[in-house]
């Protein structure tokens, strides 16, 4: 289960899991995928609205992560918005904290705080800071936004669960540019040493960072080879495909002897044609005309789903 998988192989693994569970039906129902896709699309619109309203934020990396964050928060994670400090809840750390517009939108929609509060993002006195703040925002597990911390923080959470005999999993979403940080790999080595199968790292591999394409700024390829070399069970998926995201998260749960890395190939700025694959949209807000175009594109896609 630990070899790097190509997409067709994912399908085979999925079938294997079906067999293991004696379930030959489609693993996730079409209805579920449709619902989650709609949520992801709505979160994209919420996030863009928030960025537009505030005239600040990071559209590109928020849009690329919509399916991943949706699959986790609306389906996969064992969490309870009414009891955000439940000791055995699964933990999600948005290590690429600059994508927080989408996280905030998701947490609000999931019931962690009122949706109207999204309008306060970035205002003095708001519970929604420019980057996630664990002390202020219900549902935010860890303060983030400075790149690189999530993996090692996730390691500590896993170790603490073992000491306290608690049963939860830890999911960390990192960027591909973020994988340039040395501390990511320090954390990976430690996760590997302690065989932290409770830890799943998801790389939002959208190939674009602040200053340009990742392969120009500082190549990180092959991410899959790197994580595998650090002794993670490693999968590659289309991270903007809800089926694949849901399946791979289930597969990661079946790994019991080492941590998992999911290389999620995504499109930076996904869903808004003129933002896609453009580093210019890493951290700039849309103007009136751009915002109107972006929303109409997203609405059109939503109605198709």
């Amino acid at each position: 289960m630990n070899q790097i998988t190509q997409k067709p192989l994912i399908f085979i693994f999925t079938l294997l899991i079906f067999d293991m569970r004696g379930n030959n039906m489609a693993y996730h129902s079409e209805q579920l995928v449709k619902e989650l896709d709609e949520i992801a699309q709505s979160l994209r619109m919420d996030a863009l609205e928030m960025i537009y309203r505030r005239q600040a934020g990071h559209p590109g990396g928020s849009l690329s992560a919509a399916e991943i964050i949706t699959a986790l928060l609306f389906h996969h994670l064992r969490i309870d918005p009414k009891n955000p400090n439940w000791e055995e809840r699964d933990r999600f750390i948005l290590s690429k904290g600059h994508a927080c517009s989408l996280l905030y939108a998701a947490l609000a929609r999931r019931g962690f705080f009122p949706r109207e509060e999204l309008q306060t993002w970035g205002h003095i006195g708001s519970r929604l800071q420019g980057h996630p703040d664990r002390l202020k925002t219900p549902g935010v597990e860890m303060t983030s936004g400075m790149e690189g911390h999530g993996v090692a923080v996730g390691v500590g959470l896993c170790l603490s669960a073992r000491i306290k005999n608690l049963n939860y999993d830890v999911y960390v979403l990192v960027g591909d540019g973020e994988c340039q940080c040395g501390v990511i790999w320090e954390g990976a080595m430690i996760a590997s040493k302690y065989r932290l199968s409770e830890l799943t790292v998801i790389v939002d591999h959208n190939h674009v960072q602040l200053d340009g394409p990742v392969h120009e700024i500082l190549p990180v390829d092959s991410l899959a080879d790197k994580w595998k070399a650090f002794n993670f069970a490693t999968f590659e998926i289309d991270g903007n495909n809800m089926w694949e995201v849901l399946d791979v998260l289930d597969m990661a749960k079946e790994i019991h002897n080492k941590p998992t890395a999911i290389i999620a190939h995504t499109t930076k700025g996904k869903g808004v044609s003129f933002m896609e694959n453009k580093s210019a949209w890493h951290g700039r807000p849309p103007n009136d005309e751009e915002y109107a175009r972006a929303i109409s594109e997203l609405k059109r896609r939503l109605s198709k789903e």
Partner: protein, 313 residues
């Protein structure tokens, strides 16, 4: 005066405290035998994590342990924590996680490994972080007493531990109180306010000063942040002459903290003993190194004379 190892006292206290508090965990970056977390490791292997030479990740792992409800002590040489300054600033101080950073081999106490391993700026950096408490142990007793005090203090703490064997200053009745200085000797003409190993040097200086007719207070200001400003202001009013002494740069450490407090409320003559904005050298002994870089007993005496003379004018 009888001497005892500060770092060993810390390490043994950590292992002892582990019995009392099952939430204490220890992380260390490949220097467990040096910083003496080995005692804890032997007793509580399930709560001990040697993460290799990964100072940045070590701090983040400690943060994760704290998020999970543990009280992690992160350990390495004080100078190596500078690598993790951003981790400490963002994930410990700003995120207000209950992490205890233990900077060992502080100041010039790793005399033989030289200036790469000395640290003159850690207090200045840690002290300027909001939410951070900064304390330093002056002897083995204080180091031992600081373990429960630091563990039970809610929030981030930087604990500074020397590599050296230092004269024993305190008896078992001593209680560490974060935010309070301890007056070890009463005086009237001048107050010597010190932290860490410089406290015992100040006591020796005070004895010599007495023979010259200068009565000097000696204070162990183990709590550098929060600083015991009430005590500083009281001493300033009574004596009008202050000398600070620390194995750290005169910029931004205890001397800086005391200068800020005095300047705001009670300006008096102040002399600072410490590393004078310079990198240092390797030495064959710690005492020789302290003497060479202006932290000798004679330097303290001269500073006290200067402060007293200036106020007399």
């Amino acid at each position: 005066m009888k001497k005892a190892s500060i770092r060993k006292a810390y390490g043994q206290a950590l292992a002892d405290y582990g019995d009392l508090n099952p939430d204490v965990a220890v992380v260390v970056a490949d220097v467990s035998s040096s910083v003496q977390t080995k005692f804890f490791a032997e007793k509580f292997p399930e709560r001990f994590f040697n993460v290799g030479i990964t100072e940045q990740a070590m701090v983040d792992v400690a943060v994760g342990l704290a998020l999970g409800g543990m009280i992690p002590f992160a350990n390495t040489f004080a100078v190596l924590f500078l690598r993790a300054a951003e981790q400490i600033r963002t994930c410990v101080a700003y995120a207000k996680t209950n992490v205890k950073i233990v900077g060992s081999y502080s100041g010039l106490s790793n005399f033989k490994d030289g200036p790469t391993h000395h640290v003159e700026c850690d207090i200045a950096i840690m002290r300027s972080m909001p939410n951070m408490t900064v304390v330093e142990a002056a002897d083995a007793v204080e180091a031992r007493k600081m373990v429960p005090a630091v563990a039970e203090h809610d929030g981030p703490v930087y604990l500074r531990i020397s590599r050296t064997d230092a004269p024993i200053l305190f008896d078992e009745s001593y209680e560490v109180k974060i935010g309070k200085g301890a007056v070890l000797r009463d005086g009237s003409e001048v107050a010597l306010i010190a932290s860490g190993v410089m406290v015992s040097r100040c006591l020796e200086a005070a004895e010599k000063l007495e023979k010259e007719g200068i009565d000097a207070y000696v204070v162990d200001m183990s709590s550098i942040k929060p600083l015991d400003t009430d005590l500083v202001w009281k001493l300033a009013r009574e004596t009008g002459a202050i000398v600070t002494a620390e194995d750290h740069s005169i910029i931004g450490g205890l001397g800086g903290a005391v200068a800020e407090a005095l300047g705001e409320k009670s300006p008096v003559y102040l002399e600072r003993i410490g590393v004078r904005d310079t990198f240092t050298e390797t030495s064959l002994s710690y005492d020789e190194l302290l003497d060479h870089y202006g932290m000798g007993i004679e330097d303290i005496i001269e500073a006290a004379r200067q402060a007293v003379e200036r106020k007399g004018k």
